[in-house]
């Protein structure tokens, strides 16, 4: 009985912590947007982050998208052929729509949150516990401007690009499996063409913008809030990934609802 109370207590504590953190994140978002438009323009820093977050994430994004597309084709092909029978000409629609609208954005965002959100939280967290953040202030460089703004811009700009890339790779993975096991590639392409619209791709890109912003803000916030040395850096890193995942999934539902309401 006691352990039940304790776990309820723990959950409550986590909830309070999470809500408090959400408030801090809203505040950080506001500060990032204020600092973004102040001089100097840190082109070099932004470019560096874009390379780290975007370009260097291509291999993991490729791996994720390729196998997601392949398993989608395999599973949907099997279902359409054996369970419903004889409708395997729709594999192209199933793969492309679910990839572009849902799996491409969400899985890519999660992989990037795991790979780069954690790295950003650990980097800023280490800078916090070694007084490098204080040093930035004393050298007249605001840490939000110097650290958070370039990362925010890099995440929000690069994630949509990675998502478009993932959509394409996933579709190719589906094509490969489909033409090997089920129908010809012509039918797959034709089925994609008849169902996929520009709006579907746009919806995924819009999601990517939001997911990128979420990862950047969560990671920066966790980094800046780090205390207690190495242990704290570890906690910040874990929190960055866990909070990003939760917020990506929650916001995905609501973004979807809004996009559907707007007929995108």
């Amino acid at each position: 009985m006691k352990s039940i109370y304790r776990s309820i207590e723990d959950f409550g504590r986590f909830l309070v912590f999470f809500i408090n953190d959400m408030g801090e994140m809203v505040f950080l978002t506001w500060r990032i947007n204020v600092w973004m438009f102040k001089k100097p323009f840190d082109g070099k820093l932004i470019f560096e982050q874009m390379v780290k977050i975007g370009v260097e994430s291509i291999p993991v994004a490729l791996n994720t998208a390729l196998f997601t597309g392949m398993v989608l084709a395999l599973q949907s092909g099997y279902t359409l052929e054996t369970k419903i029978k004889g409708v395997s000409q729709f594999i192209g629609s199933v793969v492309s729509i679910s990839m572009v609208r849902e799996l491409g954005p969400v899985l890519t965002a999660m992989v990037i949150a795991g790979r780069m959100g954690s790295a950003v939280a650990a980097e800023i967290g280490t800078m916090q516990v070694t007084e490098q953040i204080d040093a930035l202030y004393t050298l007249a460089a605001n840490p939000v401007k110097y650290l958070a703004v370039p990362r925010f811009l890099a995440f929000t700009f690069m994630l949509p690009l990675l998502i478009i890339f993932s959509d394409f790779i996933g579709w190719w993975g589906g094509l490969f499996i489909c033409s090997m096991k089920f129908t010809s590639s012509t039918i797959y392409i034709e089925s994609t063409r008849s169902s996929l619209e520009t709006g579907d791709i746009m919806g995924g890109v819009i999601k990517g913008l939001f997911f990128g912003a979420i990862i950047a803000i969560v990671a920066c916030r966790q980094g800046f809030a780090t205390t207690n040395g190495a242990e704290g850096v570890g906690r910040a890193t874990t929190n960055a990934v866990v909070f990003s995942f939760m917020l990506i999934l929650i916001s995905d539902y609501f973004l979807n609802a809004i996009l559907i309401a707007l007929h995108i």
Binding site: E131, Q132, D134, A135, Y137, T138, L139, A140, A141, N142
Partner: protein, 255 residues
């Protein structure tokens, strides 16, 4: 500013972290051109005083005046303007890991002062010579340097913009005696060559006696005594006496 007004003045500054009162009505003056050393046991708020002066913390009560300006009332741009006259040497140097030694020392010159690289490099070389570093370190990352070297790079970064005030947070802690002595000489040099006002926080009494014009002791969030090194050395205050002689017996509890 009048020459006899203090460069730094704390007026009844109080600060608490949670329930713990770290500074309790602290009054402190540092005259222009002098080196004041604040001594006290670990965790009594010595560094907190420095952070208030650098504008990193705001006091709960009281005022912090630097060069005739109330730090807590300034806007961010104005604080940055004030920080151009101030160099901070952090306890563990706080060098930026991702930047080279050159980029660290030239950080503010390049970013804030928009100095061209050729000119910044010249300044950096001069400052490195001043702190006794060879310029073959320019392209190394902080992780490749020893503790003493990092401290020197940290000092070079602090003096890169010709500050009028330098704040040192435990400049000799964690260094071997020879390197400590070299850092002490550097602090004296800065005062002599550049005429800066210095505030040094330390619990290294040897260092304090060597660099200080005046010493102030902080205990339990309050300044309990101040004077010249000789006055502090011969002080009859039981707390000060216990601290400077490093004795277990006395009014200060060990825990």
């Amino acid at each position: 500013m009048e020459s006899n007004s203090p460069a730094i003045r704390l007026v009844k500054v109080s600060k608490s972290f949670g329930d713990r009162k770290v500074l309790d009505q602290v009054d402190l003056d540092v005259k222009a051109g002098e080196t004041l050393v604040i001594i006290g046991r670990s965790g009594v708020g010595k560094s907190t005083i420095l952070k208030h002066i650098a504008g990193l913390l705001a006091p709960d009560e009281g005022e912090v005046w630097v060069e005739g300006q109330d730090v807590a009332k300034l806007k961010e741009d104005e604080v940055n303007e004030l920080r151009k006259k101030m160099g901070v040497v952090f306890q563990y140097a706080a060098l930026f890991d991702s930047l080279t030694v050159y980029e660290n020392i030239a950080f503010r010159l390049l970013r804030d002062f928009k100095m061209p690289h050729a000119k910044a490099l010249e300044v950096v070389r001069r400052k490195m010579e001043l702190v006794g570093l060879k310029d073959d370190l320019l392209d190394l990352k902080p992780a490749q340097l020893s503790g003493g070297m990092r401290k020197r790079v940290g000092l070079a970064r602090a003096i890169a913009v010709e500050p009028e005030i330098i704040l040192y947070d435990e400049p000799t802690s964690g260094l071997d005696p020879v390197t400590s002595e070299a850092i002490n000489d550097l602090i004296l040099d800065m005062q002599k060559k550049l005429g800066v006002t210095s505030l040094v926080v330390t619990h290294d009494m040897h260092s304090a006696y060597k660099v200080a014009n005046r010493i102030a002791m902080i205990y339990d969030g309050k300044i309990i005594g101040a004077g010249t090194p000789d006055e502090i050395k011969s002080s009859r205050d039981p707390y000060i006496h216990q601290f400077v002689t490093g004795s277990v017996d006395g009014p200060m509890p060990i825990r």
